[in-house]
Subunit: 367 residues, 2 copies
């Protein structure tokens, strides 16, 4: 039952609050509010405590809350009352004395307003309490991410099959989104990167009017977002002309690094160690300085979630986490190669959720 799913999340959060000494948490990050309640709107806060839980929203969402969150207590503020003022009033009405707040997403001004509006209340900064729970996906979430991967892969088939040398990066990006939407996606999970030749040296390139045929290869970093909000994130490189020895070499190093990283993934493994394993392959090949970002990140309702797969990440992988593994080598003026898959941590190791071929000859589609 969907309702049980939210109750289970709420119970876990309430348990995790105990250590902080707070009676309740004011959830101000809208994605966290959605994850805890099923409410899909925004501009709304959730005050969640052991004995009571109240959603603070406005009249635009009155009907929607009743539809999406049957049984949830809510307050509809008047349009002349801010969400902060309405939250303060709810905190006061419950006579709470110690309230935790999401210091990782609440703004300095927002917090100052809440603090001033609740003079007798002690506020406890608490960052990542909900985000940490969101790291472990339940069965329904894993299924949604599988679907997001599936639609992304079918979208890539359409892109592969329809790619023309005279198309611009922008056209390809837009057509890819249109294809994934027809397949049931809400849209892309982030603005896709379609980067031709030298533009692939920019790890976050944005699509331009450059045409696909203007260089010999194109990097595609894309994903689908389901109507439920869950996302996938993949990267491949398509060779649209002849293979060059340089591309073959760089591609081979990135692929070996990615496979080594994935091989390392399993429960009990530190994220930093996965990053180090993949990074070593690239460093040993002499491209260490050309891999300037972390190895990957969690995916879910957000495109970048915990755990971070970086050298600074002490997080220990656990079953149910879903992370990207995306090493890359970027050579200014020439281009870049990145390979990215979505990987589920299981009880015994891991499962690669994505299955688009990575063998170099499969990447070759002369236009």
């Amino acid at each position: 039952m969907a309702a049980d799913r939210f109750q289970s999340r709420q119970q876990k959060l309430i348990s995790s609050l105990k250590a902080s000494g707070a009676e309740a948490l004011l959830v101000t990050n809208f994605t966290n509010v959605s994850w805890l309640t099923g409410f899909s709107g925004d501009d709304s806060y959730l005050l969640i405590g052991k004995s009571r839980m109240v959603l603070i929203s406005d009249s635009r969402y009155q009907t929607q809350i009743a539809q999406e969150c049957p049984g949830l207590e809510f307050v509809i503020r008047d349009r002349t009352v801010t969400v902060v003022a309405a939250s303060a009033k709810t905190i006061e009405a419950q006579k709470l004395k110690k309230v935790a707040f999401e210091s990782g997403s609440m703004t300095v001004d927002g917090f100052e307003k809440v603090r001033l509006a609740c003079p007798g209340v002690e506020f406890i900064p608490l960052a990542g309490a909900v985000e940490d729970l969101r790291m472990i996906k339940d069965a329904a979430e894993i299924e949604e991410i599988r679907r997001a991967v599936h639609i992304a892969q079918r979208g890539f088939d359409v892109l592969r099959g329809s790619l023309r040398a005279d198309q611009t990066e922008l056209e390809v990006a837009h057509d890819l989104e249109h294809a994934m939407r027809k397949l049931g996606a809400k849209g892309t999970s982030f603005p896709p990167i379609i980067a031709v030749g030298p533009r692939a040296a920019l790890p976050h390139a944005r699509p331009t009017q450059a045409t696909i045929g203007s260089a010999g290869f194109v990097l595609v970093d894309w994903g689908a977002q389901m109507p439920s909000g869950y996302r996938s994130d993949l990267t491949r490189v398509l060779v649209t002309s002849k293979m060059s020895p340089k591309l073959e070499k760089v591609y081979g190093v990135v692929l070996r690094a990615q496979l080594a990283g994935i091989e390392k993934i399993g429960p009990g493994v530190k994220c930093a160690d996965v990053d180090a394993t993949a990074r070593k392959v690239i460093e040993d090949a002499g491209f260490g300085k050309q891999f300037g970002h972390g190895l990957g990140h969690g995916i879910g309702l957000d495109i970048h979630e915990n755990p971070r797969m970086s050298s600074a990440s002490e997080t220990i992988l656990q079953p149910g986490m879903i992370v990207t593994v995306e090493p890359g080598i970027y050579l200014e003026g020439w281009g870049g190669v990145r390979l990215e898959d979505d990987v589920l941590v299981t009880k015994t190791g891991c499962e690669i959720l994505s299955s688009v071929s990575k063998t170099l000859d499969q990447m070759l589609i002369p236009l």
Copy 2:
């Protein structure tokens, strides 16, 4: 010249800093960073002071910064150094003693980290300094928003011409975005609202699988975003079956309210007074409680910018501001009517940038 444009903005900001007593402002809102520098990436902060300005970014953006911001001093942090730590180092290196920060967008945790990393520095909370400057659009910005309106209107023509009773709200939303992209938009300026019949009673309805023909009218709230980032925001109601007396009545009230609001707009007028003027028409018709949101908002790089056109807004309209005027009446179970146009404040009054017909007979397209 584009460079002059950014210099002029930077100078205005530096002048506005004087009153706060700060030597520099740490700009942490990425849209503000873009508006001040022309840099289109994210995850980067800008430290801007009278004598020096430094962009703090990472290696993903090294090439892009050089391309987009010639002449701008920048620091590329190592992947093991956070943007906060790199900013603190830059503040220390400049021996600054009083630094303002964007308290309206910086998180409590983010600020705490900056504060701890700069023990000798006094930090001054400053909210909306850049946002207030962004309210007044320059000639190039007005031109971009005109284009965003133009593309949105052409997209609406396509929607109007191709609408079928068996299409779902989602399909119409996706086709609308695809059409606007073909016309040169980067995409929609926000997820469009395509709300059939009773669903139009939700001011922020999200498109569903409901078919267009399942009720007699559909509310469309949409906009285009230009590659430059500038946005438009419009709303119309299409009558897809017969006109009902109730719809005619509600539509008439909303239209009169909107025209009264627009009529009131001009330099020197308080935003709250524009809201009150339109609201009075709806209240006098007996629908005051069914208009639960503010009258409108500024548009620009963000879809919701200052000034807010609400009863609480003391902002005085000035030439160069562009605001939406969007009264609505929402009747649960039946549906809702909202009409929205984008209006430029001029030296002598205002100019309505959008020109999609609002006469009720033009809204009638029996399917």
